[in-house]
Amino acid sequence: MSEHVVADAGEISTPGDRLMVTIGSRQIGIFNVNGEYYAYPNWCPHQDGPLCAGPVDGTTDAVYDRETLTETETWVKDGEILRCPWHSWEFDMVENEFLHDSDITLPSFPVRIEDDDVILIL
């Protein structure tokens, strides 16, 4: 395990902020998701796309009422979904899973804010 000071905390203090850092040969994206910090490799397991360069968004959910036979769609997880810029796989940063197949996950790295530093632990 190694700790790396990668930025000033101010650079990622607002929800929605992100940082892309390079450590050795690894590119890692660090995201402020509603005040929590998440770090994932800039890599998509689909076809190796640059996942962390994609837009952060929410997504749709739906429930079906079997009595009235109606489907209701809702907008959920706003700010928690990272969408791969290549083929739009949706990655849930909070749950660490791709939405179309929750068995697909990513290595994740702890992030800590200490004093005024963003510290990434690899």
């Binding site: 689909h46 997504t59 749709t60 959910d61 739906a62 079906y64 079997r66 036979l69 489907e71 769609e73 083929h87 739009s88 796989w89 949706e90 791709f98 939405l99 179309h100 197949d101």
Partner: protein, 368 residues
């Protein structure tokens, strides 16, 4: 009884029935010819009984969907099926089939007047029950529906579901007024089917009315290779991506006469679409492939004919013996004999062979 000369020729070709296995035929067509229409009309009221009866109907009867004129001197029918004997003699005695699931390609979603289409499908069901299904324990039928009026279709299911010889419900794909199979307005029909524990069965027609580009292909073979497979692909795609198996998890679905060669490719294709467009398919909790493997069945006819038989084995393996249901498509010209299917099943385990030839249909249709 159908034309006896045709029948004689037909039986000659069928001299070797398949032995040593039970066979259920999931797709046998009653011929909607003048003789049957005349009988069906007696179950109807005026004015529409006069539309259906060929002796009083002034205009040409609308086709159920095939551009018949393309066929030239050849007919799409090898013989006619208008009585129980027309099934028993060629299929049971000739082919070695043990049970047959009968349907009728009704014009209910093709005729212009909705009320006539609804009354006619209802009359067809009554006629089928009285004339075909009550005659023999191993003749089963599907409740013929017009998808254009889902409330009526649901009522028709409620009306007939208690008849033991009706073992599912039947939609005719490709006709003008049949909505896409997964259209939410059909949910009321799926709800009725789930209530009665009956499967939903879809049969292709030519699709050329909805996809006029098919008319431009000129060759019958070109149209026949594409239209039916498209109709089946549309139904499968619509069902899965609209989430019908998620909405009605206990329901089972059977696609007839779409062929099976394209199915493995479609599993992969739908999976990919789902992964790339998941946010517009929020109802789905599983991959399209999982839904299809859990709840969809494919009639095997028309069997694909690869040059290398090994490729057929691969196809069956990829779809899975659990998802295939043998069907002849009798009495149409592109029918499959049970032996043609069985030839490809020799390399499979006995229980897999049994499931394709009979077991899957017995379970899904809950045959007695």
């Amino acid at each position: 009884m159908a034309q006896s000369e045709d029948m004689a020729r037909f039986l000659e070709a069928a001299a070797r029935p398949l032995q040593s296995s039970q066979v259920v035929d999931a797709d046998v067509h009653i011929t909607y010819n003048s003789e049957v229409r005349r009988q069906v009309a007696t179950y109807m009221e005026k004015p529409y009984r006069d539309y259906v009866n060929p002796d009083t109907s002034k205009d040409a009867y609308p086709s159920h969907g095939w551009p018949k004129s393309l066929g030239g001197t050849r007919s799409f029918q090898i013989t006619d099926v208008t009585s129980p004997e027309d099934v028993i003699e060629p299929l049971f005695d000739g082919f070695g089939v043990d049970s047959a699931i009968l349907n009728l390609l009704s014009p209910g979603d093709a005729v212009i007047k909705t009320e006539r289409g609804l009354q006619e499908t209802r009359a067809i069901n009554d006629w089928m029950l009285d004339t075909m299904l009550d005659a023999h324990d191993d003749l089963y039928g599907l409740i013929i529906l017009a998808g254009r009026d889902p409330d009526h279709a649901a009522e028709e299911i409620d009306r007939l579901a208690d008849e033991d010889s009706f073992v599912g419900a039947f939609f005719t794909l490709g006709q003008e007024f049949m909505p896409p199979a997964g259209d939410p307005k059909l949910d009321v029909v799926y709800q009725a089917l789930e209530r009665h524990d009956l499967p939903a069965v879809y049969h292709i027609t030519g699709l050329h009315r909805k996809a006029p580009v098919l008319r431009e292909l000129e060759k019958v073979s070109a149209w026949h290779a594409t239209g039916p497979a498209w109709a089946a692909q549309l139904a499968l795609t619509s069902l899965v991506l609209q989430g019908v198996p998620e909405k009605f998890p206990d329901l089972e679905f059977v696609l007839l006469e779409g062929g099976i060669g394209w199915v493995p490719g479609w599993l992969g294709r739908l999976n990919r679409e789902y992964s790339q467009w998941r946010s517009e398919l929020p109802l789905l909790e599983k991959s399209p492939e999982q839904y299809i493997r859990e709840s969809m069945y494919f009639g095997t006819q028309p069997l694909p004919e690869f040059e290398d038989p090994e490729h057929m084995r691969n196809t069956i393996e990829m779809i899975g013996a659990d998802s295939l249901m043998f069907a002849t498509d009798h009495p149409h010209y592109d029918f499959d004999h049970p032996r043609a299917m069985d030839k490809f099943l020799q390399h499979f385990e006995d229980d897999e062979r049994e499931r394709v030839l009979a077991g899957n249909a017995r379970d899904v249709f809950d045959l007695g």
